[in-house]
Amino acid sequence: MKKAIGDNMILKEWGLDKGLELVKQAGFDGIELWLGDVPWFQMSTTDSEVRELRRKVDNAGLVVSNVSTGLHWASPLSARDPKVRALAVRIVEREIETAVLLGTDAILLVAGLVTAEVPYNEVYQRCLEALRPLGEKAARAGVRIGCENCNAEHRFLISPREFWQFLNDVNSPAVGIHLDVGNIHDTGFAEQWIEIHGPRITRIHVKDVMKKRGRCGDQSVYTNLFLGDNNWPAIRGALTKVGYDGWLVAEMEARYRYAPDLQFHDTAQAMDRLISGRL
């Protein structure tokens, strides 16, 4: 397995170049690029600018692990407004295009957003309708779409079997799950999600969660690896069982208040221990 960290962890005042240098120094193999979340990678970023971005990543001795985005929280595929939905589709298409330019084969999306206003059944159907043609586009580009399990945050596809059925309904080998082992909270067990989804896992986000600290969805419950309640030996065992040998991508939602560069080093070392199984 290889380890990466998101470029949204790089402080804005550091800038991309310094951030990439730190990521490399900390021992990561790659970097996850967040479309729309960082100044150097926006929907308006041109193809040539994306190529320049790749050159910087290459020069730092890293590779792009995957393309992610948080833009679908504001513009979900499940929106009722057709214009918002069209924008959501365009965001996915741009992720696919940039993934090809950046030399990676995986993108992340938050598939749908259940709200008081837009009910579950609508969200389910609308996401299927959107993902089927997007899956075909992704397949043609040699890219896999990983729908992230955001569980309590998007109130959608909350159990592993529900997610499994959703992927069956999408019925595209190019659409799988970007598994976040920290998002499951007290709705289940990450190791069981790994066992159920196995080869459908496109990438894995790693973070820890302190279940006893509060309700699901509250970001304050997230914490660095090994500080929370995830059963890491069980997670490591499940990864071995299903033969997962891809990217582990650190998504540290809780930031160090001081010495923020240290979090990169600490996280990389914790991931090394996870990968080696020395837990």
Partner: protein
Amino acid sequence: MGITRRRFLGYAAVAATAGLRGRPLDLWRLGRSVGTSRSCVLLDLKAHGCLSDSVSGYESVLTSAGVRWMRAEARSVSPARGAVLIVPAALEIPPAAVQAIVSYLQAGATVILESGAGFAAGREFRVHRVELRDYLRVRVEAPVQLWSAHTSSQGIPYVDYSWPHSAKVRDFSRVVPLGPQAGDVIAWVDGLPVALKRHGGRGTLVFLGSPLGPALWAGDAEARRWLFDCLGEAGGCAEPAIS
């Protein structure tokens, strides 16, 4: 009002070929009769519609219910073919669609015309409103966002239908309310009239200012029952095979 001369001439031709002598409004002065065919036609406006999920909703329900139905484009619709014409999520209503609606009504059919303009803004909505007013005599007001003033403590702004039976159907965030006009208001949401039933030609026009199709698509049982009863009232379609 955003209608080009070309489109105006198209509508004028519709009125003439529909035997209305350039006065489409006369349509509403005629009486009603029962349809003779037993099929339902789903008019797909394609680029002129705006909610593909609405079309999918009607398709899935008509299919699963065993109703004899067909999907058609406006230019290929034959009035003799059906007792019911459903026009899902209409935004721009092109002359051929107006012609299809008028000819169905003249033939004594029921037309369910669903507005898809809830999310339309500016010129898009103005054109929609003018087309409804001038060629189908349906008066609508600007879209209303139901959820902006709505708090969770006030509950869900369900659309309450009173015809053909009382039914409570999920809202679609925005509605196109009715203006003052002839006909029976058959649904309300948050105090706004949002659906109308009116005789036209020898048929019946049912106008929906809150789209039903997405609720059908999402499997809303009451929405399905409402549609079945509406089809039953039209006398044209088979009884549903499912509840």
